[in-house]
Symmetry: D2
Subunit: 342 residues, 4 copies
């Protein structure tokens, strides 16, 4: 492993530290690794060492290349300086994909507290969007962020359909950043059909980082340190797992349904399809089913079902499913405008 350090050219004193692991040699056929960019917390006043190296080490152990960004804080922190630092760091990392032996499209950002706000903004509004985001007891909403960095945005309000899958954790009993921030983020992701995983621990307070005892985290409930291994397991689902030098196909998609794709498709929900011009494509299949169940219309309890799931239930042959998918793609997509197409 080697450690590199680099000042970023954004002019706010930001420094990127890289922890780069070997590929090839005895690690062959491994040729690249996914990468993690750590954004420590510190209320936009400082970048806490407790949420820097200890976090990078967890992902290094899981096989990642790891980076710690000490972004603009204190007098330098005026928004959007921290986000500019993130953009520069992410661009730099991706531009070094070959020599630093990493996958440029497997970059996960992880942020804590104020760093969680920055990671959330990266996920929701950056030019250099991360491919996955992990937020630890994040600052999200306007009310809370104003206490730390006046003028910084409400991250939940910025969520859009290009926001990456997220893993979020927090302590219910956090008296520094209320857990309502986490809930606000989940609601925004839910509204945009984004995949996520969330763990809220009954007793964890604020700032527990990896929960290791050397960090002085006595008093945590037994579950709180689990986020570390849970997050690496989740990343294996989202990015794929190491196998024979490459990554396997992801098990977890970025969105929970196909409603926001550019065309209608078999991963859309029944409710969404039936309220669209694509209804005509699936009605011929749906009507006999409903008739057999003595129903006039799709019951509300089934409106969230994906067409693909329905196809599985009725053992629709794959080629018929493919044909329907093709037919759905051919229907011109109606603009829904708002943020809740289903």
């Amino acid at each position: 492993m080697q450690i590199l350090q680099q000042q970023l050219p954004t002019g706010h004193g930001a420094v990127l530290t890289a922890y780069l692991q070997q590929v090839g040699g005895e690690f062959a056929p491994l040729a690249r690794r996914p990468a993690v960019l750590v954004l420590p917390g510190g209320g936009y006043q400082m970048c806490s060492d407790r949420e820097a190296d200890p976090v990078a080490l967890a992902y290094l152990q899981a096989g990642f290349q790891a980076f710690v960004l000490r972004y603009a804080t204190g007098a330098q922190a005026a928004w959007p300086h921290p986000l500019e630092d993130y953009e520069a760091a992410a661009a730099l990392i991706r531009s070094h994909a070959d020599d630093w032996a990493l996958y440029p499209d497997k970059l996960v950002v992880i942020g804590f507290s104020a760093g969680g706000h920055l990671a959330a903004c990266a996920a929701a509004m950056a030019g250099q969007r991360p491919n996955a985001a992990i937020l630890g007891y994040p600052v999200i909403d306007k009310g809370t962020v104003e206490a730390y960095l006046p003028g910084a945005p409400d991250a939940a309000k910025a969520v859009d359909e290009h926001t990456c899958p997220c893993f979020v954790f927090a302590g219910r009993d956090d008296t520094t950043v209320p857990v309502a921030n986490t809930l606000a983020w989940l609601e925004a992701l839910t509204r945009y059909d984004i995949s996520y995983e969330c763990h809220i621990y009954s007793q964890a307070g604020h700032g527990f980082s990896t929960g290791e005892s050397f960090l002085g985290t006595q008093g945590l409930c037994s579950r709180a340190p689990h986020w570390v291994s849970d997050s690496t397991a989740w990343l294996r689902d989202v990015f794929g797992d190491f196998s024979g030098g490459a990554l396997t196909a992801p098990r977890c998609q970025a969105r929970v349904n196909g409603n926001r794709e550019s065309a209608y498709n078999v991963d859309c929900t029944l409710g969404y399809l039936l309220q669209s011009p694509a209804a005509a494509v699936i009605q011929p299949l749906l009507q006999p089913l409903l008739a057999r169940l003595h129903l006039n219309a799709l019951p509300a309890s089934l409106s969230g079902l994906l067409f693909r799931q329905l196809a599985g239930m009725i053992a629709l042959p794959p080629e018929q499913l493919a044909a329907i998918d093709t037919a759905l793609h051919a229907v011109p997509k109606q603009q829904t405008g708002g943020d809740t197409p289903c």
Copy 2:
């Protein structure tokens, strides 16, 4: 272990099955056990066996007495019949505390899907309130419950300050009961300062029960089955753990702060105390602290801090803390009316 079965007198055909474990004898000094009441799901149309015995077994193994309630469903289900069945079951269980060797004040209710709706209503509005509640992929909001049992209440709207601590889990990708139901419940608990723990798994779908493979739950993400052991660990925090035949003191309180107690106290948040007549009690201590930090007023980022935590930070002697607590109790409590006193 013995199994008892009893028809409930509510007139809707409800049946309570009891799984009763031994105390005393070789289990001495164990004299009582906490109890769990399982409410299976099934859309208020039936009570699923998949969410009955397999769940009871998990808590039996952890040392609990276990009960399965097959409540009113189908033609019998008109609200509030299911809740009446719960009330009768809980009353019966508590009335048998001595002969069934259980703690009547350590009764946890666990419900799944529609049974999760019933468990949530038990927690929020029953006469026989449970002492803890575990909700699995629960139906909560009006929109969803109407699809299953028209006329049943929105459980989140019923939450009050006497609602017990909750453990909630769900799949993000649930296409039967949208995860927004779980979020609605968390928001209500948050508003009322109720303790909780929550695990939302990226890929778990609906109806995975304990996640054991014999239930046909292929496709779950690796974290989904963890709720079982996480929930028993959480119950040890909330109820106390077995030790020498008794239960230790709980580590986790029912509410995250003292704002909703009948008197002001040192577990109230600073923000809450400062906006109340009790401000006069803590100002003499707070003012010099702020002055030392060159602050005129408490920064917003500290308003969620409990007075007890502040006391710990400044190493206030315990007797001084106790004196302040006494002084706070003496201030007449102002009625705040609404649901968000902080």
Copy 3:
């Protein structure tokens, strides 16, 4: 679930309790379950309740049918009475395979302390051999068993090539049954190429059963209770896992190599094959390999390698591997007599 109880006809007062779970119905396509037979400890003086139901519950939760055998103890215990009770119980269980919905060839026996001695004897010398065995802090060797039941056999000495795969756990600091008993068992299994898994915990003492706190097991190291979930995971490897109502193919074979099969085969070790008449079959393939490595003979460090593993390393085409397997089978097997053919 239903509970049945049955006196065994062996005349020593033995009683079998059956805990039978549902199949079919909502559990369809599940039609059968593997079965576990619990043999509690108690120094052949009694059968401890602490190692009866709490253990059965762990495997019930994992989907098994469970049985507790209260075998001959005290005045009735004269060897081989307890083993006769085991034989009768196992025969009864297997004869009820259809009506009790279990796999007669997936019967695991689990015993603790003196019950671990009985389970070990069942695995090594019974007529009704179990298909897997789990031994908790077992009495094994002559020196120890004599203190509890004079005349009972040294279980390790009885191990033969038909002994089933074993999962063994114990406390290093056991002052009742020395951990040397566990080691003696492992050595015997090793000598006969039997598969096993073993966990010896630094601090667990004796008699900790499942390690649940209601059993009064304070003072255990944090790893000790893991044997429960580790053993069910191991059983999924040995028996196969539930999938679509059937069990998948086992991942873990009963023996670690093919040396003790009735014919030579590609799962034999290189060292074993080279010292046998089968050497002629593999020499034509091996010689050029060694020549390429500038070696005259197989290095000792490679003698434990299975031929199949070597084939994988040199990417031998499957059909060539199959041809060699056929050729090996055709070589008449030499009797080795002793117990260490490799």
Copy 4:
């Protein structure tokens, strides 16, 4: 974190790499950390990168200072060169205790395969004994080590009463280093009353390092990667856990009884005391107990009990226990010569 590299002066080309984490500052009150010295495997022909950094990272994450020793291999490996390199590395690490912020008496050595042989020799025969040792699929016995480094000693034969507590893990199905090596080590530790923990996984093969998927370890059973977190939990028992900048008292002692202390004491076993001149001290207490149980002599099943445990069972007052301990210390210790005093 910083990385230092240093050639050792032993003349065999050995190199020590140090990974040093911060103390003080935001990590205050943490002032020192325990240390781990990693000895990679490679058959004494090379030091495998796969068992170097990935292992160091696991202990760095747990709060340790970490070191990787690339000891003499290949042409340089003639015994005792590798052990000389270990001695030099351990001496260097301990001499830098202050500037590298580590506890010189909390140095754990971890070795794999041939590195496990070296770690075992360090534990059993070095001048610079480690304070704990972790051995992964180690080469131990003469038969096996001769295949890799002719002339190197049988590590099990070297075990003495000053050998440190050990954590050992291996795969049952290891075809490179037979699991009998691990058993030989456990037997030696058992004979000398040394504390240990051991995990033998049914399917893990050889060389799985931390078991992380990026190492190409497909095919491991699900338990195999658990040794990593189990070993850090065990180290917290043996060294104490971080708390307020210091380490708590260890929960796990280096030996399982007091039989090998320089004086008789209440942690000796009853069997050992009764066969020694110290019997006179405990007989007055023991005799009435046995009489009450209608026994003439201590039953064999109780001979392994510590006197301290007996005292607990009969609720002997602490001051009486202390008095007996003093009386035991006063009896001149008899030399037993052999290696099995109990």
